[in-house]
Symmetry: C2
Subunit: 105 residues, 2 copies
DNA sequence: TCAATATATGAATATATGAGAAAATACTCA
DNA sequence: TGAGTATTTTCTCATATATTCATATATTGA
């Protein structure tokens, strides 16, 4: 199995390392397919959303498919959600640890 | 099960979103415990390494434990490596997709 | 072709991050 | 306590990123 460079992995993670981009992926998970739907839902400027979308596409996380004037985005690899879930799980456990440490002094 | 905020998840991912921090975690995985060993191994400035270590500690990924002059760092939650592995896997699959697309035209 | 809608981009600004150098701090041991 | 080592902090510069506004581009259908 080839080793994936730290640079490429960091680049993927970096694509996810912004609250708005996590929100965008969740919006898509919940059924939205085009940024014309996502922008009002997330209350983001269209231009700003467009730039975040570009990043997600560039890094291979989303695949754009034009349908008339709109562009539908689909998840390139559904396992990206496993990664996001895992991040949530790690945050949760970390919070628990912090609480335990506080109690222990 | 409580929902973990996009912000916190992005913050965790952001901690991993730098090649050097991925390298640091790999160095620790491979057995290094203190930054005095990691700095020369990764050929990083000590002060620079220190700041990256701080980020990893702040975000709950590493736990520092002083042992005399040195500070040993241990992984707070080994599942962080699952997340890193998954990132590698996603990058790998993405690369394969790109190649297939090229071939398909 | 023109209007309407969706998306992309250039420019400007604010903020964040990364890095190195030097100084400060913390610890151990003689 | 003083020397030596490990680590952190502070300062500063350069670069990267995020955001908004205004404008440009692309697509469809009348």
């Amino acid at each position: 199995m080839p080793v994936i460079s730290t640079k490429l992995r960091a680049r993927l993670l970096d694509a996810l390392a912004h609250p708005n981009r996590v929100r965008i992926l969740e919006a898509i998970k919940s059924g939205y397919t085009c940024s014309c739907e996502i922008a009002p839902d997330l209350n983001m400027e269209q231009s700003n959303l467009s730039r975040h979308m570009k990043i997600l596409v560039e890094r291979g996380i989303l695949i754009p498919e034009r349908e008339g004037v709109r562009i539908n985005y689909r998840i390139a690899d559904e396992d990206i959600f496993k990664l996001l879930d895992m991040a949530g799980e790690l945050v949760r456990r970390n919070a628990e640890r912090s609480i335990l440490e506080e109690e222990a002094g």
